[in-house]
């Protein structure tokens, strides 16, 4: 399939704009058309789940109903949105009563969701739809020698293991290797970064991120590749605080995996928002010699 209903989610509009830009650029270069779902709303994250199931699934389903109208599967780059939309699909498929209620709620906005659309993460689409061979053939800047820790975080693989193993996923490893990068051993690959706890319970989250940064550095990584806006933010923006709190000296760039694909394919770093990171990924920027405009 070469057309997807694109669900950026709130983070990609703001804090994760470099992710948004790089996903759009990379997909365009690979001949995949992303059509942003017109007037999409926040999927509700995990917050509405703690209040009311039916409301949580209904607002999430509004986006799916809009995608159904477009007749396309959904591409959702934020791991959190990805899981919420997946969960909505699964649980309304499991419970006919809930499905009925959700459709009654949607009817209040003249929408209907009766032909489920698949929800996919760009990592899955790149590797399993486009394929590593196609991507390899388009590499103009090999990332050979660049040492990258692949960080999957939690929600991209858990709880469903939709496209990879819940404990030891390899999709990103394979993709980065296809670009020539040296993928380091990374024991933190599916460990949690704490997500929203960074705001609500900072001490807990700082510790989790300390572990993740340390594991990357200890294994020789020069940067961490992420696939989720919240992980990126926690690992990147709190490095100073972690350094102060634990007497450390971290200064490691946290890029999105799509940035690595983009640079390898010869895309302009600025077009992918690589100049908007807080820790500049100099070693990656140095590879961007051949740039397509």
């Amino acid at each position: 399939m070469s057309d997807y209903a694109y669900y950026p989610g709130c983070s990609l509009e703001t804090a994760a704009s470099p992710y948004d830009k790089s996903v759009r650029e990379v997909f365009k270069a690979l001949g995949i058309n992303l059509h942003e779902i017109e007037d999409w709303n926040c999927c509700g994250a995990t917050m509405y789940m703690s209040v009311n199931n039916t409301v949580a699934y209904s607002i999430s389903a509004r986006n799916l109903a809009l995608a159904q109208k477009m007749g396309m599967d959904v591409c959702a780059p934020c791991s959190s949105c990805f899981t919420i939309l997946q969960k909505t699909n699964r649980y309304i498929d499991w419970d006919p009563k809930e499905r009925e209620k959700i459709n009654q709620a949607l009817a209040a906005a003249n929408l209907v969701y009766d032909k489920p659309v698949a929800v996919r993460h760009p990592l899955d689409i790149l590797v399993n739809e486009i394929g590593l061979d196609t991507i390899k053939a388009k590499v103009v800047n090999s990332l050979a020698g660049l040492k990258v820790a692949p960080y999957y975080g939690c929600q991209i693989v858990r709880p469903y293991g939709y496209f990879d193993d819940v404990d030891d996923p390899v999709t990103m490893n394979k993709l980065l290797q296809a670009l020539g990068a040296e993928v380091t051993h990374y024991p933190g690959k599916v460990r949690c970064c704490g997500g929203m706890l960074m705001t609500t319970e900072e001490n807990i989250a700082l510790k989790l991120n300390l572990g993740l940064l340390q594991a990357a550095v200890d294994n020789g990584a020069e940067m961490i590749a992420t696939a989720c806006p919240l992980c990126q933010m926690n690992l990147e923006a709190y490095q100073n605080k972690i350094n102060q709190a634990f007497g450390k000296n971290f200064n490691i760039p946290i890029v999105y995996f799509t940035h690595l694909v983009g640079v390898a394919l010869g895309m302009s770093p600025a077009k992918m928002g690589l100049d908007k990171l807080l820790v500049s990924p100099d070693k990656l920027l140095a590879r961007a010699k051949e740039v397509r405009v």
């Binding site: 926040c42 703690s50 929408l111 709880p159 706890l197 908007k276």
Partner: protein, 195 residues
Amino acid sequence: MIERIEPFPKSEAELRTAFWGQLGKFPEGDKIKTCLQCGTCSGTCPVSYAMDITPRQVVALFRAGRIEDILHSRTIWICASCYSCTVRCPVGIRVTDTLYALKRIAMSRKIYPAQFHVQTMSKAFIGNIYKYGRNYELGLVIRFFLKSNIVKLFTMAGFGMAMIRRGRLAILPSKIKRINEVQAIIKRASQLGEN
């Protein structure tokens, strides 16, 4: 002599009914009955060290008829939804969803741990979606710290500026066009989904 089994006190009985109702809202919710008390969930949980009651103990307290104690704990609010416990539980108990079920009961009955603010965040977030249809990060964070920790608000200003300069933090909320649709859906869904 057989000990007389005390029935659950009235409030507990009501909470149990509500909890069983919530357990029916996701697949295999009743598997909680088969918990082995093996502790795998607590062992794999990245934040259990900071919980006053571990995930395993949540199940134990539920069995012991002490749901109210669970609701007063910080545990359900500290859970980061990482789903490690869910994928590792040897008998397939959906621990994360079970904690969500407990959160819904806590929220609807306004039972929170003392001096604790995570639920403040949930409420602010929900308010944003109702008003704008999207999350409004800056507003969310400001509201949260006004309530919980004003000092921290000032210490975060520098970081906020760095993000604004990079175009990664919006000063104003973005609002969807057909917010009326979202509000209509939320209203109808809240009537339908008794909680």
